[in-house]
Amino acid sequence: MRIRRGTTAATSAALTLALLATACTGAGEVAETDAVDLDVAPGVTDDAVVIGSHQPLTGPAAPGYAAVSQGAAAVFDYVNDQGGVNGRRIDYRAEDDAYDPAQTIDVTRELVIEDEIFAMVGGLGTPTHTGVLDYLNDEGVPDVFPSSGALAWNNPEEHPLTYGWQTDYTKEAKIQGEYVAENFAGQSVGYLYQNDDIGVDAQAGLDQYLSEEVVAREHYETEVTDLGSQIAELERSGAEVVVCSCIPAFVALALLEAASIGYEPQWVVSSIGGDTATLQGLLARFTEGSDAEEVPADAFLDGLLITSYLPRVEDTEDEWSQFFIEVHEEYGDGGPLTNTHLFGMTQAVMFAQVLKSAGEDLTRQSLIDALETQEWRGPGLVPFSSSGDDHGGHQGVYVVQYSAGDDIEMVQGPRVTDRSGGPVEEPDFARLSPEELDFHD
């Protein structure tokens, strides 16, 4: 008893001293961290490489986004059956974070510390991934292709190990803005956007081309599933074109709400909300038991303009779409293939490709070198950037128009632009076919 009290006294004195010492420095004054050692290869053995991802597999975001990791897993299974990459199997571990940032932090540490992942691939969500951005970079874990279009991922100075993937919201909005200004000249335009970085970034792009035409700016909160007042206001303002920077659930709600009051503008939907298979499912669910139950979900989607940068599942002529349909049939989860699956599948193909380029002697440094020197030729339809000073990912979008019966028509080919005031241009870009692209043994 007495001995124990002695040691506790000593320990507590030491701790008090330590606490007092830190009490003098500000909590927000962070010292510069040393450069991390990248010449290491945790998770890599002669015959396997472990990679991880945080994904919403349960919770409110799961119905829309669980397909991303299912798609990626299917492609990695395919790659492994072809003999893997440089003789190594890809061990893909998608951990559930339920789209809760607090859980993202926990599962990410679990992946890095317990599973010793080689790289984080396609971590999903802006609020979730933001919470682990610093951690991954501080620990020297390559953070490849986060599944979100936030501008924050493309910041090589602060986060040198993070490489963006999705066409960012501003670039996409600029191309949408230019398309609308050209093809719907003189018509009034309304914006409908999610009230977070999506809305801010999208408006920054749209306003460069549409600031004269815009008559209404309406936003929604993801917690409030009623768009009645927003749609009524868009109709009242006389908007003939509505640009919707929304996630699928709110695209579906907006289309239903507009149909119920007989408002028929031209809808322009961003890639994040433009997965028609998901929209059909949502519309069928939302109309269940209502007056509109008899109306086929497709009727609401007819004429929708959608921007995209990846191959689309509706486009059965496309070689990559065909390839993904085959992979899904053999390795998929059994459900219908959606564009959300294709999102994860494309990520997986591109990661496997860069792993292949990194060569036999795989280290984190060789992966980074491969990323920065990679000449990307698909499966996306637009150029891709992962160079030393531009971690921007996909550089632009193309525009398709959907018509009922799972039919799409490309109404404007790929365009690229930057995220500030640069022009919208047609790129000189050709893709390789699945057979030509070197992404497995």
Partner: protein
């Protein structure tokens, strides 16, 4: 049901079940605050040892147990102590967390201790505001009123998008271990130690209050308001005091959470958080501070073990991802079916069966 035994085996070193009760006379003779402080120091030594021998991930989870423990201990005092049901405890965690994040972002030169002190003050003020308004309410009405808080408060983050960051929340970077300790303790270890030091200090205060005059008054109010009023207990102010103490503990816990995780978003402070705090408290055992410890451990570790278990059994992805919730529910139902006083009820029964002379630990 192998896991509860595993649970106990692993959690045993964290608290101080070896509370020196055998030389009972001398120990009892010490004044209550000193006794609680000594126990806290002992517990801190234990946590220090654990943090130093385990890795980063364990440190993060210890820290999570720490702040969850504090939040639940506050709730314990409110629900178990004064008999008021609050379904809005998560809202106070949110106040604390956003308070901490805003302080670090806008006043980076303030030391952590000052930030925590400010967070305590702010959440106490919030507690007074809500507590005085709800002190007149009973049972389901009080639960309903606090429910509004849990549902409504996260909306503020969207309403004041520029200031509070909307659904993406706020991200902060805080200083790690002091320079002279670098190499000995990692940043995560240091954070866990800071959290536990704060939590144990706060628990000492809570335990002292609970065993003192205010605690007796609260229990009198809980058991029978009329009788308490007739014996001269100021019912209203006692209830408000309980509410303020609980919300302060919640706010401090939220501040610590923000410090550890470095990110605050409205998505982390939903109604589900408030409800799971209450559910965990019931599981741990209402009426004893030890119940809060079991509750915090259950909240942090049951999920981890359940997903490990599902992984080991090689169940499908869908099953594996939904198992933790089911597992928590089943454990809650089973524990309440056999030990209505929760895990602490079970522990107490085991202790009293082993020897009638050994009394249950006090804090």
């Amino acid at each position: 049901m192998t896991s509860p035994t595993r649970e106990r085996a692993e959690r045993a070193p964290v608290p101080t079940p070896t509370a020196p009760t055998s030389p009972a006379g001398r120990w009892r003779a010490l004044p209550a605050p000193l006794r609680h402080l000594l126990l806290a120091v002992l517990a801190l030594t234990g946590v220090c040892g654990l943090v130093l021998v385990t890795g980063d991930l364990a440190a993060l989870r210890f820290a999570a147990v720490g702040y969850t423990l504090l939040a639940i201990a506050g709730l314990q005092l409110l629900v178990g102590g004064s008999g008021q049901i609050s379904l809005g405890h998560g809202a106070f965690l949110m106040i604390g967390a956003y308070g901490m994040a805003l302080l670090v972002l806008h006043q980076p030169m303030l030391p952590l201790a000052a930030n925590l002190a400010i967070v305590v003050a702010v959440s106490a003020v919030a507690g007074v505001a809500v507590g005085t308004a709800t002190a007149r309410l009973h049972g389901p009405y009080l639960a309903g009123a606090t429910l509004i808080l849990a549902v409504g408060l996260p909306g503020l983050a969207h309403r004041y998008h520029e200031f509070l960051g909307g659904s993406n929340g706020l991200n902060i970077r805080t200083a790690g271990a002091p320079p002279f300790l670098q190499g000995i303790v990692s940043t995560s270890d240091w954070r866990a130690l800071v959290v536990w030091t704060t939590v144990l200090l706060a628990l000492t205060v809570l335990a002292t209050i609970s065993s003192g005059r205010l605690g007796r008054r609260m229990r009198a109010v809980r058991d029978d308001e009329t009788a308490a009023a007739m014996s001269g207990v100021p019912v209203g102010s006692t209830k408000v005091a309980a509410f303020v103490i609980a919300s302060t503990a919640g706010g401090l816990a939220g501040g610590l959470q923000a410090y550890v995780l470095g990110t605050v978003t409205p998505g982390s402070f939903t109604l589900a958080l408030s409800l799971s705090l209450i559910a965990a408290l019931v599981l741990g055992g209402i009426g004893s501070m030890w119940g809060a410890l079991w509750a915090a451990l259950a909240l942090v570790y049951l999920e981890v073990w359940a997903s490990d278990l599902a992984g080991a059994l090689d169940l499908g992805r869908d099953v594996e991802n939904n198992l933790p919730v089911v597992f928590f529910g089943v454990v809650l139902i089973l524990v309440l079916r056999f030990w209505p006083l929760g895990i602490q009820g079970l522990v107490q029964r085991l202790i009293s069966r082993r020897g009638s002379s050994a009394s249950a630990p006090t804090p």
